[in-house]
C-alpha cells in the first residue's frame, strides 16, 4: 500500500515502532535496548561509530535477523514480521549491491519484480532505469559495472515495489557526485510521498538537508543527537 492509499488514522500512527531491541553476537551485546519509531514522511539519519550496531539494527528492522528480545515491534500497526504484505512494504539498500552479479540489471529487476509481484513490471523497470541513467547498460551483466553503477541499480531494486519504509544502510558510500545527486533526489521524492526513511551514515552533515531528525547509536542505545560540525564530511 502506498502513502496515497493510507487513511488518516494510519498516517497519524508511526509506521514502524520498535521498543527495547536487544541483539547479541556471541558475548558481545550489540543492541542493549534500542528503541525507535518512524512516522510517514520522516527521514531519520542514524549515526554511530564503526561497529556500533547500525547495520545490525537495519537488519533487525528489515526482518533479516531476529532480535534476541524486543518489547514491542510493529510495522504498519501489526506485529512484525507477520505477513508478506509487510515485507512487500520495505525497501533495503545495503553496503553490498544485493544483485546477482551474473545477471544483467534488467534480469535482476525482473526477478525482484516477480518476487514482489510488481504490476506493470517492465514499464516500472524501464522508468526507474531511465531515471538513474542506466537504460543503455541494462542488458550488461552487473559484474561489468563500476561500484557506483551497481549501487544505482541497487537503488532501483529497493524502489521497484514502491515500499512504504526505506532502510538505507550507508547508501552514499562509493557513489560519484552524479549518482549521489540522483539518490538525494529520490530520497526527497520519497519523503514527499510520505514514505518513512531511515539512513545510516558516517557523514550526517553532508545529507543534513534530507533529515527530519537525527539518532545516534551509542553503547547499544539510540539517543537523539544533532551532528556537530567537527564530524568528518564525506
Amino acid at each position: 500500500m502506498t502513502a496515497g492509499s493510507a487513511d488518516a488514522a494510519e498516517l497519524a500512527e508511526p509506521l514502524i515502532v520498535a521498543q527495547n531491541i536487544q541483539k547479541r553476537f556471541g558475548r558481545r551485546k550489540v543492541l542493549k535496548s534500542a528503541s525507535l519509531q518512524i512516522r510517514r514522511g520522516e527521514c531519520v539519519i542514524l549515526t554511530g561509530e564503526n561497529g556500533a550496531g547500525k547495520s545490525t539494527l537495519i537488519k533487525v528492522l528489515a526482518g533479516i535477523i531476529k532480535a534476541e528480545a524486543v518489547d514491542r515491534f510493529t510495522f504498519r500497526g501489526k506485529p512484525f514480521p507477520e505477513d508478506d504484505a509487510q515485507r512487500r512494504a520495505i525497501g533495503l539498500i545495503s553496503h553490498q549491491p544485493m544483485l546477482y552479479l551474473d545477471l544483467s540489471a534488467a534480469e535482476n529487476l525482473r526477478f525482484f519484480a516477480e518476487i514482489y509481484a510488481v504490476p506493470n513490471a517492465e514499464e516500472r523497470i524501464n522508468s526507474l532505469l531511465q531515471r538513474i541513467g542506466m537504460e543503455s547498460r541494462k542488458d550488461d551483466p552487473i559484474r561489468t559495472y563500476s561500484r557506483g553503477m551497481q549501487q544505482r541499480v541497487s537503488i532501483c531494486r529497493a524502489l521497484l515495489h514502491d515500499p512504504d519504509l526505506l532502510l538505507l544502510d550507508e547508501p552514499f558510500t562509493g557513489l560519484d557526485s552524479k549518482s549521489a545527486a540522483i539518490l538525494e533526489e529520490l530520497i526527497l521524492e520519497a519523503k514527499e510521498q510520505q514514505k518513512a526513511i531511515l539512513i545510516t551514515t558516517h557523514a550526517p552533515l553532508v545529507i543534513r538537508h534530507l533529515a527530519t531528525r537525527f539518532l545516534n547509536l551509542e553503547k547499544g542505545l539510540l539517543v537523539d543527537r544533532e551532528p556537530v560540525d567537527r564530524e568528518p564530511a564525506q
Binding site: A62, G63, K66, P97, F111, I115, A117
Partner: protein, 224 residues
C-alpha cells in the same frame, strides 16, 4: 499457497538463468565426473566381472564428489552480493528458498546421473539391465540435495565454508550412499527389485526425514 509456488518457481528459474549465463555448476560437475571416469579406466581391473561388481559404488562415488561442487556453487550464488539478505527481506517464504536450492541441486545431480550411468555402462561394458536405476538415482539425488542444501545453508555464512561443508556433510550422508549403492548393486546383478526393497525404504526414509528437517530448520539457520 499460490504465492509460495510462484516464489519457488521464480527462484528456480533465476538459478537456472544464472547457470545458463555462467555454466559454472553443470559444466564443472560434468568435466570433473568425466575425469574421474577416465582415471578409473586405468585404475580398475580390466575384467568385466570385476568392473560390474564395483559399478554401483564407483558411480555413486563420482556422483557424490561431483555433487559437492554443485552444492558449493548453488549456495555461493546467494552469498555473492549479499543476495541471501535480499531474499530474506523479500516476501518469500524461507521454505521456498530452501526448496528452490534443493530442486536446483537435484536437477544438476539427476542430469549428471543420467549421463554417468550410461557412460559407465558403455565404457566398462557393464549392462544396466533395468530402468529401476532411475528410481534409485531419483531417490538418492533428492536425499543428497536436501541434506547438502541444509548443511550448505549452515556453512555458507562461515569463513571456513569450503572446509566445513565436506567435514559436516559426508559423515551424515553415509546412510544414504550405503542404501543407494546397495540398491544399485542389486539392479546391476539383475536380481528382482524386491531384493532391494529394504535399501529403497532406507532411501525414502532418509529423503523424508532430511527434507522435513530442512523445511523446519532452514528459517532458523539463515536468520540467526
Amino acid at each position: 499457497m499460490k504465492s509460495f509456488f510462484h516464489s519457488l518457481i521464480t527462484l528456480i528459474k533465476k538459478d537456472l538463468s544464472i547457470e545458463r549465463h555462467t555454466r559454472e555448476i553443470f559444466l564443472v560437475m560434468l568435466i570433473f565426473a568425466l575425469s574421474i571416469l577416465f582415471i578409473l579406466n586405468f585404475a580398475l581391473d580390466t575384467e568385466v566381472k570385476a568392473r560390474s561388481s564395483g559399478a554401483a559404488g564407483l558411480i555413486w562415488v563420482i556422483l557424490v564428489i561431483s555433487g559437492q561442487l554443485s552444492l558449493n556453487q548453488i549456495m555461493n550464488l546467494e552469498k555473492q552480493g549479499n543476495m541471501l539478505e535480499a531474499l530474506l527481506t523479500a516476501p518469500v517464504s524461507r521454505t521456498a528458498i530452501y526448496l528452490s536450492k534443493v530442486i536446483t541441486c537435484f536437477l544438476a545431480m539427476i542430469a549428471m546421473a543420467l549421463i554417468i550411468y550410461p557412460l559407465y555402462s558403455i565404457f566398462y561394458n557393464t549392462p544396466l539391465r533395468s530402468v529401476h536405476h532411475l528410481w534409485v538415482a531419483l531417490l538418492g539425488c533428492w536425499g543428497y540435495a536436501s541434506l547438502g542444501t541444509l548443511i550448505s545453508g549452515m556453512t555458507i555464512q562461515t569463513r571456513m565454508r569450503d572446509i566445513l561443508l565436506p567435514v559436516l556433510f559426508f559423515p551424515v550422508i553415509i546412510p544414504l550412499i550405503v542404501a543407494a549403492v546397495n540398491s544399485s548393486s542389486v539392479i546391476f546383478r539383475g536380481e528382482p527389485i524386491g531384493s532391494a526393497l529394504p535399501w529403497i525404504s532406507q532411501l525414502i526414509a532418509f529423503d523424508v526425514i532430511f527434507t522435513a528437517i530442512g523445511i523446519i530448520s532452514f528459517e532458523y539457520i539463515v536468520e540467526d
